[in-house]
């Protein structure tokens, strides 16, 4: 009983875990990923274009929230500087679990064009926080970002309440 995650104990008459519960949880999670309104550099322009009516992330259930407390997903859209990295960590810690991170663009993946001869860039946001999906491009087109989010949805679909991934303690 102690080994089962806390979710199961909240189910009335708990302790029994059905695959359907997993499916229900995953379906509800992947269908309403609320992402944080958070842009760092030029990738944020592409993220805004993806959120606007031409590409419309809303039809995949993604709407932006202005607060990390209400967000499930943080899209790191742009260059992460050494000065910004502690702030990103703070924002990440403020997000409720389960939380997901998408590194958008080469800068957020590994430093990109600032890989060499730059003193102020963090070489990849995964040095500061865990990342679920990486999207290359400089900047990635809106299609690439949407593809990355579909990959994240597939990833959420594979999760189970038994995994640590789903709860991230």
């Amino acid at each position: 009983m102690e080994k089962l995650p806390i979710y199961t104990q909240k189910i009335p008459g708990g302790g029994v875990l059905l695959t359907a519960t997993d499916k229900l949880m995953n379906w509800s999670r992947k269908s309403s990923i609320w992402y944080m309104l958070f842009g760092l550099a030029c990738c944020a322009i592409e993220m805004m274009a993806t959120g606007a009516s031409d590409y419309d992330l809303d039809r995949m259930g993604l709407i932006f929230r202005g607060s990390p407390r209400q967000s499930d997903l943080m899209i790191i859209a742009g260059t992460v500087t050494l000065k910004m990295a502690p702030r990103i960590q703070t924002l990440y810690e403020q997000m409720p679990e389960p939380r997901y991170v998408v590194a958008m663009g080469n800068c957020a993946c590994n430093g990109g064009p600032y890989r060499y001869d730059s003193y102020s860039t963090l070489m990849g946001v995964d040095k500061a926080i865990p990342v679920d999906v990486y999207i290359t491009g400089c900047p990635p087109r809106p299609e690439a970002l949407m593809n990355g989010i579909i990959e994240l949805q597939k990833r959420i679909d594979r999760m189970s309440l038994k995994d640590k991934m789903a709860i991230r303690v």
Binding site: L82, S120, M123
Partner: protein, 169 residues
């Protein structure tokens, strides 16, 4: 005022000043102790009437530092540049914030990246980099733990990456 008129007018007042050859704007090489009187003259003389600092930065020439100021007059429709040579080890110059408040952040940035100290500046703190940053990155020969120099042979780096066939053939 045209550039020739401007030049003869200023040299009338300050006959000792040297001109930078081959400069796009009219550029005066000003001794450090003449910097504030000269700037005050440029602001307060009715036919000069410089109202606006367009840019203020520095250059590191290894032997010495040079502060470069571009100032502009909206009413007289002319502009000039001033260059002041400083000691590289101990670059110190008076502020011009009391004449043109717009110079405030320019001087903070020059302090941040070049380490030029501006005397009597109201708030001389770092502006772009973190407050606890060490060193002045735009100086020649700057080193930092995060800085990877660009390798001479880029193909050596490319060997670490798998070759991807061109999808367009």
């Amino acid at each position: 005022m045209t550039q020739e008129e401007l030049q003869s007018y200023i040299l009338q007042k300050y006959p000792g000043f040297k001109l930078e050859p081959l400069a796009h704007d009219l550029t005066f090489l000003v001794p450090a102790e003449q910097y504030i009187p000269f700037c005050t003259f440029l602001k307060e003389d009715p036919s000069m009437a410089f109202q606006n600092v367009m840019s203020l930065t520095a250059t590191d020439y290894l032997d010495y530092m040079q502060v470069v100021v571009h100032i502009n007059s909206y009413s007289q429709k002319h502009r000039i540049a001033i260059k002041v040579t400083l000691d590289r080890e101990n670059p110190k110059i008076s502020t011009i914030t009391h004449l043109w408040p717009g110079a405030n952040w320019h001087e903070r940035e020059t302090y941040d990246l070049y380490g030029v100290l501006f005397d009597k500046h109201p708030d001389l703190r770092r502006i772009l980099l973190a407050d606890d940053w060490e060193g002045y990155p735009m100086r020649k020969g700057y080193t930092h733990w995060n800085l990877t120099p660009m390798p001479d042979d880029v193909t050596e780096v490319m060997k670490d990456y798998p070759t991807v066939p061109n999808p367009l053939g």
